[in-house]
């Protein structure tokens, strides 16, 4: 079947590759936190056992051990014990397989600090905020940055002289510094915009005018901090790509032939675009990291803030749940860009059809 459908084969091969990457990411996500000594059951017990007598504490500990899959149980859920009464621990491999199964079902376990709130619940409340902030900022920033970069390369002159050093400086400012500056200037000094949180705390989240307008004013600064950085970074890359394209033979030839300028720009833009798209795939992981930091600086109620609070309170299930989700999103985005490039790049398209 694949022989007749090179496109299908290409997509399947990429999908297989990303599935492998996902597996590695899940494995890292499982093993790294277990390098430390912190054991979720001990952490939980330390939080609750103070007010309990020994019997209640033991029962509670057993229920936690069962919940985190640390002990072997029979079919009825009773803990299996060795001859001397100590519960039989499950092997780390069993725990990993259980973790893998649960993760694939979207079950990330329960939070330690907000026990028994499921991690997936925490993530689901945070995720819309993150998506609403990041996707428009990244996509808009990418388009506007590339447009500006191409313009600067083509027009040169004043625009380029002013714009290029500014973009270079902006892209050297780490995202969190940029966020802090925005908070300090527009939030604290000028008091134009609110700085901390995603909406006015006095309002209840819901689809009404008061809440939405409050959310909109809280949105401006975090959005700007992500957006401007993406614009700066993309514009620099696009500018140098376009300058390179301007010097190539086909552009010179087209100019000599008297081809209309708008047509040349169109050819050039399409050629310069591809490396930018590939670059997007590669920098996406880094961008998401920077965007998470922006959320932390602004206390924006998204995933970044969830990770930050979880780190501060050593809430491992929440940390790993969030990191796994972020990794998955980055992988999915990369996969999409990969497929897109496969269709847009005539060289890859030709190689594919040539193989068939």
């Amino acid at each position: 079947m694949f022989r007749q459908h090179p496109t299908l084969r290409y997509i399947t091969a990429r999908a297989g590759w990303y599935a492998l990457t996902f597996l590695v990411a899940v494995t890292i996500n499982f093993w790294l936190p277990r390098l430390g000594e912190a054991n979720p059951v001990d952490t939980l017990m330390a939080r609750v056992s103070g007010s309990m007598d020994a019997q209640a504490a033991r029962e509670r500990e057993e229920s936690y051990l069962r919940e985190f899959g640390l002990v072997q149980t029979d079919d009825t859920g009773k803990i299996l014990r060795a001859a001397d009464g100590t519960p039989l621990r499950t092997s780390i491999l069993t725990q990993f397989l259980r973790y893998l199964r649960m993760s694939l079902q979207g079950d990330f376990g329960r939070s330690i600090v907000q026990h028994p709130r499921p991690v997936s619940d925490i993530i689901l409340t945070a995720l819309p905020w993150t998506l609403a902030l990041q996707i428009p900022a990244l996509v808009l920033g990418w388009f506007i940055g590339n447009g500006l970069g191409a313009l600067a390369a083509y027009r040169r002159g004043v625009l380029d002289k002013v714009f290029y050093p500014v973009a270079l400086l902006v892209s050297a400012i780490p995202s969190f510094c940029f966020g802090i500056l925005l908070v300090y200037i527009f939030g604290v000094q000028l008091e134009w915009l609110p700085t901390l949180g995603g909406y006015d705390e006095a309002l209840n989240p819901g689809f009404n005018a008061a809440f939405l307008s409050s959310a909109a004013t809280y949105y401006i600064l975090p959005f700007l901090s992500v957006f401007l950085l993406v614009v700066g970074g993309q514009a620099i890359g696009m500018r140098s790509m376009c300058i390179y394209e301007l010097g190539t033979d086909y552009v010179r030839y087209a100019k000599l032939m008297g081809v209309r300028e708008s047509t040349i720009v169109r050819y050039m833009f399409r050629n310069a675009m591809l490396p930018q798209l590939t670059g997007l795939a590669l920098t996406l992981g880094g961008m998401v990291g920077g965007a998470l930091i922006a959320e932390m600086v602004f206390s924006y109620p998204g995933l970044g803030l969830s990770v930050l609070t979880a780190i501060q309170s050593l809430d491992y299930p929440v940390i790993t749940g969030c990191t796994l989700l972020v990794t998955t999103c980055v992988l999915v985005a990369n996969f999409t860009v990969d497929i897109l490039i496969g269709f847009l790049d005539p060289r890859i398209r030709a190689a594919r059809e040539g193989e068939a």
Binding site: A38, C177, T323, T327, V330
Partner: protein
């Protein structure tokens, strides 16, 4: 020598080198000239800068200038160590795969691409999060180096692969040089300027990554670094108190170092690559 003259004539190189020199001086000169104490209280919390205390005090009343100088040293140390680790790892993997080719190359490339798409910040969060105490500067630097080598491996591999089919390499092979000999004598020397540029970029990213990790509260334990200073300032309401001296100087230093290294890299690219030299 000619290369050096070209470098000195490039304005970007001069700006970058001067900025870098200035930060190095700030990191290593003051401790020789005056007494800097980062543990004794010098006044009340968030006292504004005066002529005696150049940068005021932090939330505990410690001297901000002393903290800044010692933080700068830590950040530079982490950055350079992480840069070395990442460059060495990336070079080993990239050169070996690029020169050898075949299935070894396929496997190494696959590994590199794999870790390239998994966000390194996430891996770093998990890695430093699993350790509580004992997160020393050196350990953080090693972590950073081990998570950011991927793109340098990719870049170096491409360069090494293009060298593989050159005549002088083929000649060396005919003359019976082993892999190690060829790589050390006939491939690495050609990559030297390139590797230096990779190292500079890796150092910049190491310094930035350290500050991000420290901002999250996962930085070096019990040590002052630029990122830790920022983390402390943000957590202790320096922003709403208007104590700009607690967060602005570390931010400025991080930006200046990163900018200096980027500019150095770009200007060297222009000098080392004759095609770009006009």
């Amino acid at each position: 020598m000619k290369l050096l003259r070209h470098l000195l004539r490039s304005p970007g190189f001069l700006v970058g080198a001067l900025l870098l020199l200035a930060t190095l001086l700030l990191a290593f000169l003051p401790p020789l000239l005056m007494e800097l104490d980062t543990s004794r209280r010098a006044g009340l919390a968030y006292m504004p800068p005066t002529s005696g205390r150049w940068l005021g005090t932090d939330h505990l009343g410690l001297d901000m200038f002393a903290l800044l100088v010692s933080g700068l040293r830590s950040s530079l140390y982490v950055g350079f160590l992480a840069g070395i680790v990442a460059t060495v790892l990336g070079t080993l993997i990239g050169v070996y795969g690029g020169y050898k080719g075949g299935w070894i190359d396929d496997v190494l490339t696959a590994c590199t691409n794999l870790f390239l798409v998994i966000p390194s910040l996430i891996v770093l969060i998990l890695l430093s999060g699993s350790l509580q105490e004992g997160r020393s500067l050196t350990l953080i630097a090693l972590f950073i180096g081990c998570t950011t080598w991927t793109w340098s491996a990719r870049a170096v591999r491409a360069q090494a692969a293009s060298l593989r089919s050159r005549d002088h390499v083929a000649l060396a092979r005919i003359n019976g040089y082993g892999t190690l000999g060829i790589v050390c004598l006939h491939i690495l020397p050609y990559l030297l300027s390139y590797l230096f540029m990779v190292f500079i970029l890796q150092t910049a990213s190491g310094i930035l990554t350290e500050s991000v990790i420290s901002m999250l509260g996962l930085g070096p334990y019990d040590t002052v670094s630029l990122g830790n200073l920022l983390n402390q300032a943000i957590r202790n309401e320096a922003l709403s108190d208007g104590a700009w001296w607690a967060f602005f100087p570390p931010m400025l230093l991080i930006t200046v170092i990163a900018f200096a290294l980027y500019v150095l890299n770009t200007s060297m690219e222009g000098v080392f690559n004759p095609r770009l030299r006009k």
